[in-house]
Point group: D3
Chain length 291, copies 6
């Protein structure tokens, strides 16, 4: 989520357009005097969205100034102030809903991530996201995962190659697919195989996958498979691919602690995005304005 990226500006403009449409009908009642307001959270959680909110308001009106009281990734407690805003009254009101929607949604994701990350503390296993993200919001939701202490998996189909169930069914299989993709991708791209069986995982390791995702596999099977896969990878004579990352998925987030000693590198889950609730926040006007 690089706020200097023109693509981000384009998306922010799209969000503003979505809400303003042909024009905020209430704009006529405002005199554009400078007022001050603040945001407060109504739930505990992990804050995310402050930097984007600043850019969003600046896009609506460069005269709006925001002082962040919490950084992205900070823990927040019910009732705490999150940020102060100052600017023309009409602009604060026009940007209120879109900015709150974003921060409430992202903070919900950061919060849910943080809970899972804590459960894995000390295990050396990283909590990782997936490509199950709300269309149009991926870079933001993945940023929220990081703010919650998680790590990101690939950002898109171009960011690493993953050979999954349907890929295997419709092509020549794991070995030839790894070879073809290796030839045509940037050398920096990793190739991952999603394995549903031990034999698929072993084939992937033998053929030089950079990562193996063990999907919906039994814990005991995982435990016995991981050292075998690492051994195969270590012996590999394929320089680029000898290094192996092992990842599991398809786990009920409630049971994540059961996997602390599974020996894998990563647990990937979409739960912080697909099963979380928004953190409730609101924008309140400052009753005693003193300037």
């Amino acid at each position: 989520m690089d706020l200097r990226s023109p693509a981000i500006s384009q998306i922010i403009n799209l969000w503003i357009s979505e809400d303003i449409g042909r024009g905020d009908l209430t704009k006529v009642i405002f005199d554009n005097q400078t007022v001050s307001a603040y945001w407060v959270t109504k739930n505990d959680g992990v804050f995310c969205g402050g930097l984007i909110i600043k850019k969003l308001f600046k896009t609506i009106d460069p005269l709006v100034h925001i002082e962040l009281l919490k950084n992205d990734g900070d823990e927040i407690k019910k009732g705490e102030k999150l940020l102060n805003l100052q600017g023309p009254n009409s602009s604060l009101v026009t940007g209120e809903r879109t900015s709150l929607n974003l921060a409430m949604h992202l903070s919900g994701i950061s919060t849910a991530t943080s809970l899972l990350v804590k459960k894995l503390k000390g295990s050396g296993i990283l909590l990782c996201d997936t490509r199950k993200t709300s269309p149009g919001l991926r870079v933001f939701e993945k940023y929220a995962i990081r703010c919650g202490g998680g790590v990101n998996h690939r950002l898109g189909l171009d960011d690493a190659a993953m050979i999954k169930e349907n890929h295997i069914a419709w092509t020549e299989g794991i070995g030839p697919s790894i070879k073809k993709i290796r030839m045509s991708s940037p050398w920096t791209s990793r190739i991952i195989v999603e394995a549903e069986t031990a034999s698929q995982a072993i084939e992937a390791a033998e053929k030089g996958a950079d990562g193996i995702l063990l999907d919906e596999m039994d814990l005991n099977e995982i435990k016995s498979l991981v050292p075998k896969l690492r051994e195969i990878a270590n012996k590999s004579d394929q320089r680029i691919t000898r290094n192996l990352v092992i990842e599991i998925s398809g786990i009920d987030p409630k049971n994540v602690e059961d996997y602390k000693f599974s020996g894998v590198d990563l647990i990937s889950t979409s739960a912080p995005i697909t099963k979380s609730s928004w953190i409730d926040m609101s924008m309140r006007f400052d009753k005693k304005e003193s300037y």
Copy 2:
């Protein structure tokens, strides 16, 4: 959600770009042969997204054909097939994630809406959404609300005017604001006042609001206030505004049934969007392809 709208095409292209990036690295392993697949749901719920998914896949590749087995708004049961797909293998794989993400998210909203709508059955009260929607997805999420049996509130700041707490704090107040907005808006636009107290509600009714939103108000207060507001509105000599819609918000969705006999027209809640989980679905290749 008018799929003929150029804005929808632009958003669909943005979603595709988000996932494809500089190109699906696995494309090289496919021979582009026509294959068939289907979608299956792993949860019960209310389906939403079929029509958009068709357009999404047509945008990626006009050779992909989709037969919808469920219509938007249909109830679906765990294990049921939702749709069949046929097309070049590489295109099915490239569109898989984005299309599932959308349908899983929207079906989660439809499902949550449907549960609340059922609780209000027979009361004559409509369940209504709010502007708390994921940035960039409003028309789609509001469509999911309708598929779940809810009705939509205004789609943006231009679709109706709502005078809220901050508006009141920063302007000349309810009466003058209604008057100014009425003069400068299309005559077709309704004006709503969000009232936090009975006296604000009464002022709004007297000054000719088209709608009054009673926010976080006690049930008994609502019950005594509603007939008063209707009486004031009936006496109004302001032709355009005599008709009054009364709406409540700020209710815990769990207690929605308590408000069945409150006499209001609408209960508005963001819960189906901010507190729902995705319906889990997956795309599976057809094992017995026969064409």
Copy 3:
């Protein structure tokens, strides 16, 4: 016309591109020294466009400063100065034509509107526009209507629903159409029926239309129909729709005064847009520059 809307910026950029193309060929002769100039009107009328012009010039060059001597909606007399400009000479010249084109066109519309509005003075009837607007210029032309004292009808097909002659011919008719649209539209959307006969108008009122447009109807028929329609609406038990707005159209603007006592709420006409001439203005350099 909300100048903070990204859509407005996009359109302004499109206008500038239209004229600049691959680059103003005369730019090379300028030294970019700051000069001053002013606009003068060559006709009487009602001014419109000042705020947009400011944004247009700022988009071309942030160093251009404009002081508006007339506000949008002000009466202007032949020979009066409208605004002062100061900025790099090349930028004033590059923005000259596009900005004048816009202001001359919009002021022509405001002026024509104002003449009609004056004729209805004291009648309580509002002069309203239609969707007959120049493609790409609707929000601007509708703003010019307001600057001339008129009110706006719906801004697009989504802003209110109107059931017209072709709608009736190709669907199940007025009653079922109102019902279906009511169910699927935001509750804030009004539904209007364009009636060409008294019986259509009566059906519309009985079925709960929010507005009825009597198109090309005889004045006497209008006079006898209006009280009937109001009576039907008052008796209605459809809470949301009991309130009825009656509108007439298809009137020769020359005869608008004949309808002052017709009892309707609105007279809608496209004439200020489709039959008006531009107000002539020009940009002149300041002969005695003193800074």
Copy 4:
């Protein structure tokens, strides 16, 4: 107006978005059955817009078919059919207003142009437009001028260079400006000088202008000046610029015939765009549909 240009598609999409907004609220009442309709003109005039209308409807819905009964540039008489349409009822209704608005506006321009062109018949003088065009509609309005028998002046600031009053005031003057522009422009670009006095015109001819625009000049002065300018140009030793086009502007269109024997090449006027009314047309459903 090259309909293959991506810029045209972008503008057509913008027009459609302008009217559809978040979706045509009446779409739900249609069954998408194929219906037929036609357009009829309510005024005499010169038709313009058929080809664009076809593309506009195809953009909304590829199933709409249009048979043009009149070509762009054809004379049309009140009551004549202009085109037949066939397609899904909802799509005809959704595209109706935008397409009619465009054709009515452009046909108004073609009609007004045609009247002036007829007055110059036999004189050898061409009627030419200016850059006074509605923002965003220039290529279309200039096309309408051609359909009415006029010729186009430059399409933008990059299409030819014109040195006007403000240019002269703010630079080193006519001679040096011609020289600098000649050096930095494509060799194919012509350079025109707008002269308000005879001496400016003579200087322009001497310095090698490709065209001279005599603005608001007295007819007698024009008559005496033209042969002098042609003589100067003929003697020029500047190969690229010896050829001179002489143009007049600032003429009241009513008096255009007075200038038939002025000896100039072109009369340029904005009147067909700034002072014309729309040609009234409507779309009617076919009462006897037989398919």
Copy 5:
């Protein structure tokens, strides 16, 4: 190349997006402190790109300041400093590659142009480019041609008409084509005929072409043809077209001096774009920062 043009901003954003993608992964290591750096050239040549680079960096980060030490078109020597930069370290690094790529490419073109221009010195013949330009970079590459001392041919298919071999093969031929194009183009547009034989060239002159391009013609044939063509043009009674520009192409750039006395006006060649190498430059951090 008018940097005020919105189209230029759009292209610059596209360039930035191309490199930043979903975000510069190294951004996290920077503290955004202000640093200074400079550009140095590793080859001799003619500089081009300074003004665009300034706009490019301002687009990435308004806090970056650039002091140009060389103007576009200046000669540069290996080891010379070209510009100084000051700004947040992360922004300098993020814009480095794209800006260098552009300047190195354009300076390569300016340098190659300059070498050819010098060979024609004193001949009165101008060196001209063609439409053989890298897709998406035409206005920039044509600007580089001018910085190297060349002149531009038409910028696109709309900027002048050229009747080439395929045009002649697929239409009614030179004469009728000139006539039709003259009628439908802005009067300011020149019409050029690409002639492969003397008889085509003569026909073009007789029919009133504004320019004739003699393609891959023998030097002796050119020498004998040029005076004939000029004579025909001088006698022409077609006022707009009597003036003739003669251009040759298809020449090996090595032999350009052979054509110094050919009597033509222009030699057009794509070599500075299609056969040139980039000038090598690099951005270096200032070792002694002193602020």
Copy 6:
């Protein structure tokens, strides 16, 4: 270069707009009859661009059909036919220049790449590109590199992280930078260090870089350094980073063979893009059309 990507369509439209501008002035002379033509190469080389050209022409006119006689990556000999085209004459002419420009440029790159790749044959060393690409053309130029037998380095700043000279100068140095980037990047992203000295390279290997780029280093130094770096990497206990790719750059392409036994994995060079000439091709009409 995934032709299904909406970003590619956007760029193709930008290329078409660049050349068509406000419309091909010669369009009026064509009758749109179907004609046939072919492309022929005037130089030997490696072809690139066929698939993009097909999409480009389909975008201009869906009626144009192209039969590729050479695949991207095929060797081509002077005089060989490359492809056949059939379609409306005006569309072939309008798309001619842009399509040729692209294929000539890309084939120049493929050809230059192929020559270098041949020199490394048998060495096991891959020839790799850099981020020195023409702005706006990166995915196409990198595709051309692959067609010539090279491999791609990262596609942008987000596709892998490279810590270069300026990064090191302006941050805490190699070790801390690797650590910070590892934490904030997708786990799939590789981290590369550009080392200018042996000690930097050794530090990079020790701190767990995935790749090391030895820039402008002496051959003997490279040879002694490579085994040391590999040994360090093998001992690493950092699972994700143990695998090391060693790359050299800054080599004069003429001497590439000297490095065949350097022991590195990759030689990266910008020469095929920055120092290559276009392959000359032309589109010719079919003299004997037989359909």
